[in-house]
């Protein structure tokens, strides 16, 4: 028996998701709004990176469906629930989550990283690397069976991925015929893959990305339950599990911060540019003041204060998950409140230009009120700037999380995040042999996410910004 739990961040994610769906619904018949997005999706880079981002977002969403498990009933008492909040992703990754070793082990290792004193075969005490409890535990003779086993399982997994691709891709292609992909050859006498082989560009980029993702997924599904594919960390947790769990944290920081920042940037930036005069003076004063404080310091100060408050009111947060959730939200809030100045300045300059444009003058000649002018004439004409900024900021925020967590003013130290993974593993570089896998995994997962986001942002900018044509 389980009971769903809605953390505050989950609620905000739902809100975000809901508004994105709403916006898409509104824009579905508007060619002027759809056009740029279609252009992004038609571009091989745009389509490929969108797919990668979608996989990340999917993992993040799965990790946002939280629940608590019901403890075994005790007669005469109300149902008790576990204090440990889990997510759907935890459930999917149960084998990874539960296969905890004693301490470090390298990727695909079958022995622990550290030597231990144990009973030798002859009964005497020896110091050696003990076999892992879970990683490769199914192998009878580790030395002989390791490679055949890994190759067999890996091969089967990749085969599975390939088969899935062969099924999924033609389906997808048929579904989107005529829209994303130009009309496919009359499919009767040709294999469904013919168009892929015949055409370069979009179809192939999308298909290859999908293939790569499915092969990788197949590989992991086949191997991860039996080996620690990316090793284990200091307390023996599977690094692959940690990496997958970190995704949600990164995505949250990247998106919720925007959610906090947007109202400030939009209202203050546009108002400053449109009204000018005293209002402009006050808003400019506000953002010059905020800007003048060194960013990390302001964030650090605010996070410290929040932390003190959380500790002072510990009774409000009954689970560790709730506590780190609030700290995460506070961090997003702080990053948002301190981060609106850049976009606001951009919007102010644009509003300053727009308010002199003739269509705004014409509206004023009709006596249209300021509110309506702001809503109908200014806001829609700055939305491209907002979108570009939001997409561009995303990757910066994901990277910032790691740095802030290192400084100690990021997410809760108990929360799984890229920053905490790096922070925890940093000092182990001095050990011999080097414990590199935890760092490598965090950096790799982050790199793929940020690279995809950056490339995607470029495509969005190219499509939305009339000035950017020819730039890359």
């Amino acid at each position: 028996m389980i009971k769903p739990v809605l953390l505050w961040s989950d609620a905000l994610i739902l809100l975000l998701l809901w508004s994105v769906v709403g916006l898409v619904w509104l824009a579905r018949n508007n060619e002027a709004l759809r056009g740029p997005w279609r252009q992004v999706m038609r571009n091989p880079v745009g389509a490929g990176t969108a797919l990668i981002l979608a996989v990340y977002v999917g993992i993040g969403l799965l990790d946002s469906l939280h629940y608590v498990e019901r403890l075994p009933d005790q007669p005469g008492r109300e149902a008790q629930y576990s204090g440990e909040v889990r997510s759907a992703l935890d459930w999917v990754l149960t084998p990874l989550r539960e296969n905890v070793e004693k301490t470090y082990s390298a990727p695909f290792a079958i022995q622990l990283y550290a030597k231990e004193t144990m009973k030798g075969p002859e009964g005497g005490e020896i110091r050696d690397f003990p076999r892992l409890k879970h990683g490769g535990a199914h192998l009878a003779d580790a030395d002989k069976d390791f490679w055949p086993d890994v190759l067999l399982r890996g091969g089967l997994g990749m085969l599975g991925g390939l088969v899935l691709w062969l099924v999924v891709f033609p389906l997808w292609q048929r579904g989107s015929e005529g829209d994303l992909v130009a009309p496919v050859v009359s499919a009767k006498n040709k294999s469904p893959l013919t168009p892929l082989l015949e055409r370069g560009g979009l179809a192939s980029a999308f298909a290859w990305t999908l293939l790569a993702i499915l092969l990788l997924a197949g590989l992991l599904v086949a191997l991860a339950p039996y080996y620690h594919v990316l090793g284990t960390d200091k307390v023996g947790q599977d690094v692959l599990y940690l990496s997958l769990k970190s995704i949600r944290t990164g995505l949250l920081i990247g998106s919720l911060t925007t959610l906090v920042m947007l109202p400030f940037a939009l209202s203050l930036g546009i108002a400053a540019g449109y009204f000018g005069g005293r209002i402009d003076d006050v808003i400019q004063y506000l953002y010059t003041t905020l800007n003048s404080i060194p960013g990390v310091l302001l964030i650090a100060a605010a996070v410290l204060v929040v932390q003190v408050q959380i500790e002072a009111h510990a009774e409000l947060f009954n689970t560790a998950a709730a506590r780190s959730d609030v700290r995460l939200l506070a961090l997003c809030g702080i990053l948002g409140v301190t981060g609106w100045t850049g976009l606001a300045r951009l919007l102010r300059a644009e509003a300053l230009k727009l308010r002199e444009l003739e269509f705004v003058q014409a509206a004023r000649a009709f006596g249209v009120g300021h509110g309506r002018i702001l809503l109908r004439h200014l806001l829609p004409n700055v939305m491209h700037l907002v979108l570009i900024t939001v997409v561009l900021d995303f990757s910066g925020l994901v990277l910032a999380e790691a740095v802030l967590s290192y400084v100690g003013v990021g997410v809760d130290p108990g929360m799984i995040s890229f920053g905490n993974m790096i922070n925890g593993a940093r000092l182990e570089l001095a050990r011999e042999p080097v414990v590199w896998w935890q760092l490598a995994a965090a950096f790799l997962f982050m790199f793929v996410l940020v690279l995809a986001a950056n490339l995607f942002a470029d495509q969005v900018r190219e499509a939305l910004d009339p000035k950017s044509s020819g730039r890359k």
């Binding site: 003739e358 009709f366 006596g367």
Partner: protein, 613 residues
């Protein structure tokens, strides 16, 4: 092979642009020649490929565009075959070019002297004091004082900048100078000076001058020979005299027919329906066939050759083919298709002053010093009085910066005037607010110059037209819808325009939408702020016809703000000439334009191109 000709010989030039998988051909098979000391005008409307031709000759085509075929020989030397380094010596040396926008064409952070010296160093190996002396000499040659050498572009006026640019391009002592719309961004009096300068320089130096222009009058004043371009091709090529005496291509004839002039007052202007085919269109037959009044079957089947219609006068038209058949003679083109005359003043409509402006002034404070105290006033509008009757057009003429647009905004109460009074339909608007102001706003509306910035790109036409009605008129939603349909009819747009966005329309269509937007609230007074100066002449004619029709039908009063004197002569009953915030002369259009009293009016009239040399 004939001996290399002096000057520039262009043969069969084609330019291609690869854009998003499509292949555009903005220039296709252009040939012409510029003799050693003659001026050739390349004449055409926007988008015909004339600037692209010039950039191709300079080998300065934008990225993505390339010369697909053809040759350009300067004194027999093939430009397109030269390596880039050798072309660098020719560019700005033997072949130079000046551009349209003096505001942006000069480097803002270098002095005039530095920018001229660069060219002198590159082409004449002059440096140091010698370069300074030569730069000074060049400045004097273009009519600037030597002491302007140390000036930065921002310290110069538009005309001075254009002169400085010419000086830079003369530094290499060019054999041929290309001038791409050199005066389009300038006021009419400055335009006259720059054109005079170019003509004098061309004659003194024995240069060839390729003058790119859209203005028939400028070409008439300047050119020895004229090439008329349409849709990437030269459609007519003749000496100036022959062309202006008798154009042989229907397109050129149309260009003449659509020009508004004082002599055409009361006539309906001829119009040129349709649009220029896009540069990626695949056209069988004549490119002008769709719009040609003299079109016949062969035009759609076969691309016309470049025929010599009269000695030295070529036209790309089957009608000019001496051996071809002439199905209907030439009469079809000569007559305006629509012989209606325009009734200017609708007699049945009530008269009375719709707009009265008394001693209106708009001053902007100039602030300086530690506490930004106001130390002076910039008097944008300084005591202007005028009045307009119902059904009347008053033209407000003046050069840029004279305060005419500020005046318009003050009349509409988009700006608060410093002093003076504006009365609309007899009622002062200064103290109005709320419902009363709303009522007045419905009585006066404005149409702006730039049809691209005057329509919100994120609203569809229905919303644009509805906005004013929703704000000012007590109409139900269904009444508004009915009125939108009616407005679209009035301005000659199809009903399916309602759900479309501004970017789907051409400049002329956008201006129709802007007019419909203003008409939506049933104004008595329409302020037209340079409504046709961003449009091609053929489109201008359509808009002027529309304005005349609307005035006749509704008895609208127009305040027509413009710098274009021929349009004034054609359209306005009365004219007010404005300069530096004041009205210097006012009177009936015909009298004022033929016998001006104020010297400034006279200067404006004398500066207007098209009066011959």
């Amino acid at each position: 092979m004939k001996a290399p000709m002096k000057g520039l010989l262009v043969e069969n030039l084609s330019v291609e642009i690869a854009s998003g998988g499509r292949l555009l051909k903005p220039v296709e098979g252009v040939s012409f020649a510029i003799g050693a000391d003659e001026c050739v005008a390349l004449l055409g409307e926007s988008g015909c490929g004339k600037s692209m031709t010039a950039l191709a000759l300079m080998r300065l085509l934008p990225e993505g565009a390339r010369v697909a075929s053809g040759s350009a020989r300067l004194d027999g030397e093939e430009l397109f075959a030269l390596p880039e380094a050798a072309m660098g010596e020719i560019r700005g040396g033997r072949l130079a070019m000046i551009f349209q926008e003096p505001q942006t064409s000069l480097n803002p952070v270098m002095t005039v002297a530095e920018q001229i010296a660069e060219a002198l160093a590159a082409h004449r190996k002059l440096n140091g004091a010698a370069a300074q002396a030569e730069a000074g000499r060049l400045l004097e040659a273009v009519g600037l004082e030597r002491d302007r050498l140390g000036a930065y572009p921002f310290q110069l006026s538009g005309g001075q900048r254009q002169r400085a640019l010419i000086a830079m391009m003369l530094a290499g002592e060019p054999e041929v100078l290309i001038a791409d719309e050199p005066t389009t961004a300038l006021d009419v009096t400055v335009q006259a000076q720059i054109l005079n300068l170019l003509r004098d320089l061309q004659r003194q130096r024995g240069m060839g001058l390729l003058l790119i222009t859209h203005d028939l009058d400028v070409a008439k004043d300047m050119a020895d020979r004229v090439a008329v371009m349409y849709a990437g091709q030269i459609v007519e090529w003749a000496s100036r005299d022959s062309l202006y005496a008798a154009p042989r291509h229907p397109y050129t004839e149309k260009l003449f027919a659509v020009l508004p002039r004082l002599e055409r007052r009361g006539e309906r202007l001829d119009s040129l329906p349709g649009r220029v085919p896009p540069p990626d269109a695949v056209i069988v037959g004549c490119r002008f066939a769709e719009r040609c009044p003299a079109v016949f079957a062969r035009c759609h089947e076969e691309a016309p050759g470049f025929h010599e219609a009269a000695p030295g006068h070529f036209a790309r038209c089957h009608l000019a083919d001496p051996v071809g058949r002439m199905p209907q003679g030439r009469s079809a083109v000569d007559l305006p298709p629509d012989g209606r005359r325009i009734a200017f003043r609708a007699s049945a409509l009530p008269t009375g002053a719709v707009l009265e402006v008394r001693d209106l002034a708009v001053h902007f404070p100039i602030r300086r010093g530690l506490f930004r105290r106001t130390v002076d006033q910039f008097k944008a509008v300084d005591g202007v009085s005028l009045s307009i009757q119902a059904g009347e057009t008053l033209a407000l003429v003046g050069e840029s910066g004279c305060g005419k647009s500020t005046l318009a905004r003050a009349v509409l109460r988009l700006l608060e005037p410093t002093r003076g009074e504006v009365r609309v339909a007899g009622e002062a608007i200064a103290g109005l607010s709320g419902e009363a102001l709303r009522k007045k706003r419905a009585e006066m509306q404005i149409v702006f110059q730039d049809p691209f910035s005057s329509l919100n790109p994120r609203m569809h036409v229905g919303e644009i037209l509805e906005e004013g009605m929703a704000a000012l008129l007590p109409l139900s939603a269904s009444q508004r819808r009915a009125r939108i349909a009616q407005l679209l009819d009035q301005v000659g747009l199809a009903h399916d325009a309602i759900g479309r966005y501004p970017h789907e329309f051409s400049g002329g269509q956008r201006q129709r939408i802007a007019i419909a937007r203003a008409l939506a609230v049933q104004p008595k007074l329409l302020i037209l702020d340079e409504p046709t100066s961003a449009l091609d002449v053929s489109v201008q004619a359509q808009i002027l016809n529309l304005l005349a029709d609307l005035q006749a039908e509704h008895g609208l009063a127009y305040l027509f703000i413009t710098h274009n004197l021929p349009v004034v002569g054609y359209l306005a009953q009365r004219v007010a000439v404005m300069r530096a915030g004041r009205i210097v002369e006012e009177g009936a259009a015909e009298a004022l334009l033929t016998a001006p009293k104020h010297e400034y009016t006279r200067l404006l009239l004398d500066s207007a191109p098209g009066r011959g040399r």
